[in-house]
Point group: D2
Chain length 256, copies 4
């Protein structure tokens, strides 16, 4: 599987690390906003010997031809919401897209949806397998015990200012008011921990996800990319990726 | 829903408490091995005012006629494996059965299966909703990340001697060697805690169940009884009870 | 050790249970506000065979003579702040007092302090050993790593309305603004859990206390009573009970 | 404070990172076994701009004169047990030593003790502040509740083969048989977690330490180095570093 990566910030680099490690895929190129590292190989910037992932800057390429000149099977996007303007060109070149961007505007979301008419796009604001499992499992548990009390506790490093977007998404999907039911703990250097607590009179159930490093995003992207590689044009979600594994469940979820 | 209860030990009493509290069901009688409390009402023995659950001893009743003279919709069994010899009579009287017995012999299991040709029987060695959810969710997670390391940690009161039967069952269903992958912690008065840990390189997922009191068994039995009340003859499992709620999943699981 | 108990509500009864179980002490009497159970033995009301703890109502006794007619070594108070008006009479009769009341007014606190001139009084709003250890250990940890971020998460049953008084006390002693640093989770039937999280850049330390039942208060009271039984008049705190142990320990450590 | 560092492996580099970050100290040199990086600056090898920590190989220097030619206040040792043969020369040059080596032979320990007659040496096999706090706090808790059940659960990355040396040390100090009371969980990429569980009939207390990165060792070494910088010749332990604080605290508590 030939992969192109958009974004080469803190998370983008961690994702590149995982793509370079994976024997089943090859990092063809990296496309980034600034011209820093432009012309170098991502593998070298990251201290590896091989020459993979030649770095281009969006400022210096012609998008209309880029995706045809440098063909890949999947483009993985960890840059920013603005990069959505490249999706039409990529879709035109039949490049499938995994987008892990968290804050598209309604207009940008329309651009993404439009591109999904021509190619398969998987869109998920938190692409780690664990978080998406937590989301699925907690929605499932809520259907079993709808009367349970549910609270979300999220812990992150002291300098993280906002409420975890992931926690907000979990709250939304569970129908919880995020102001009342999310507890944000900010201490030291915790990478990221999310805990969903279901309380019944005589038992408590906890679903906990702990991030060890940002490389988890790369593993999630790879997992999603492999799943997406056989899909036809359309817009897909991470829930569907996991749902498929669970058998008939996706169908039930779609109709519910 | 008219309910009969077999067993009135520590757990049986906790289950009776929950049945008495439930407005949608009525505890018709309690059938127990010894003659202690025989002729009294369970509600009174438990310090409640109402007169529910007249207590009979198996030693004093004629099983051939008991279930017809004292009709119920569901019989809930928290006694011991030996009581399975009553199932044929109950099945003959079209009483559905919820069995929460943990250690049937192969012969006793055959007796139970035979009875399930005439009535609906739900059999689950750990009937709490939470534990069964953990079981289902962890099997689901294993299909998503089959390469993850999985370990089970169970904590119970210091005087509990054996490995938790629930932990053993979880290990079996996940294909784990119970000697290597179950860690049994015995301290103080912990009622019961089960934690399943899924470890990946960059993230950890924990599914945790904590028991607060034995009344959780009663809630699980009620949940199962309501589900079973509309079922035809056959043998059912707690996984199916939860699976149904999750949509088409049961089908997928059955074929897997 | 002869013990008298003030208060026979939910917590008072759990404390009486522990006093009855302890072989080193004897429950002489129970003094309570209402006249319910008056004239009965606490041991019988609680379903035990022995005859310990004759129950009196404050409404029916003459406080001026009660403590001399019914001598005890220690009086344990789990009633309410109002009962402080009995302390002068108890102190006059040389009865030592363990007070586990949480919300004295400034005036009532003066009454308690005045009584402590004549007898030894130990006053602690949360008398469980575990919580007091948490308090001591976290103050100690703060002196070691004063720059650490500290947050408190407390979990209790859904119907508990206020912030945990224990959490507030911990916050106060650690110099934390309680509105900002206490996270209150309310779900199901959790008896009580307090977690103090210390976060550094590269490590996290968690001190966790989980209550299993209210009987923990009785164990704490007994522990405190034994310590207090050799003390002269004065006002003592639970910190001192544990601190003494810390002092001996420190010396022991130096010589090892 | 001028600091010299022995060892430049995975942990040594993480320690160097912390020394470089600390404004109150300066990394004068790094002494390592092999000649790799010899002649370069540690700060440059680690990708920082400044020129700190010139790297020497033990193979290329004359130990008899090295410590006098390149004077430091403290030498921090994260290399291996063999390096203890340098301690006599360092001690002769009045260099204080922080040794974080975990497996000295009895003979090597004698060499270390001999050197401590001429200089102040702090020796601690696990130098993180958090683990040493856990050790101290759990020994303290054991004196308060000697009858409690105690179990240790340690979690590490799947490829770690042995039982955690830190867990073994905790067990030893608490008088626990390590085979029976340490539970080793090996999953995924967990950096390191140690949990000490104290169980009583009605309450559970957990002391938990989670490592986020190896840099914690550097912070512990700096903490120890600052403490050691005012000490006279002798052998010191990390417990004493924290114990001193406990002593001051105890006095403070009594007066409050």
């Amino acid at each position: 599987m030939r992969i192109g990566l958009m974004g080469f910030g803190k998370t983008g680099k961690a994702v590149a690390e995982e793509l370079l490690k994976d024997s089943g895929s090859r990092l063809e190129w990296v496309l980034k906003s600034s011209t820093e590292h432009s012309g170098n190989y991502a593998s070298e910037v990251l201290g590896h010997g091989s020459r993979q992932g030649l770095i281009y800057s969006i400022q210096e390429v012609d998008l209309a031809t880029f995706f045809k000149k440098h063909p890949v099977d999947i483009m993985v996007d960890f840059s920013s919401a603005d990069s959505v303007h490249c999706y039409a060109s990529a879709a035109h070149a039949k490049v499938r897209i995994v987008s892990a961007i968290s804050n598209y505007s309604p207009y940008q979301l329309d651009v993404l949806k439009h591109a999904s008419r021509s190619t398969a796009i998987l869109y998920s604001p938190n692409i780690t397998i664990g978080i998406n499992f937590l989301l699925e499992a907690s929605k499932f548990l809520k259907t079993i015990i709808p009367h349970a009390d549910i609270e979300i506790v999220e812990e992150h490093f002291a300098t993280k200012k906002d409420i975890s977007g992931t926690a907000v998404r979990i709250a939304d999907q569970l129908g919880l008011n995020e102001r009342e039911h999310i507890h944000s703990v900010r201490v030291g250097g915790i990478v990221g921990k999310h805990e969903i607590i279901f309380g019944l009179e005589n038992q408590t159930i906890r679903l906990v996800h702990e991030s060890i490093s940002r490389n988890a995003f790369g593993q999630g992207a790879l997992y999603a990319a492999k799943w997406l590689s056989s899909k036809t044009a359309g817009l897909y979600t991470m829930e569907e990726v996991l749902g498929i594994n669970a058998g008939q469940r996706r169908t039930a979820l779609k109709s519910s």
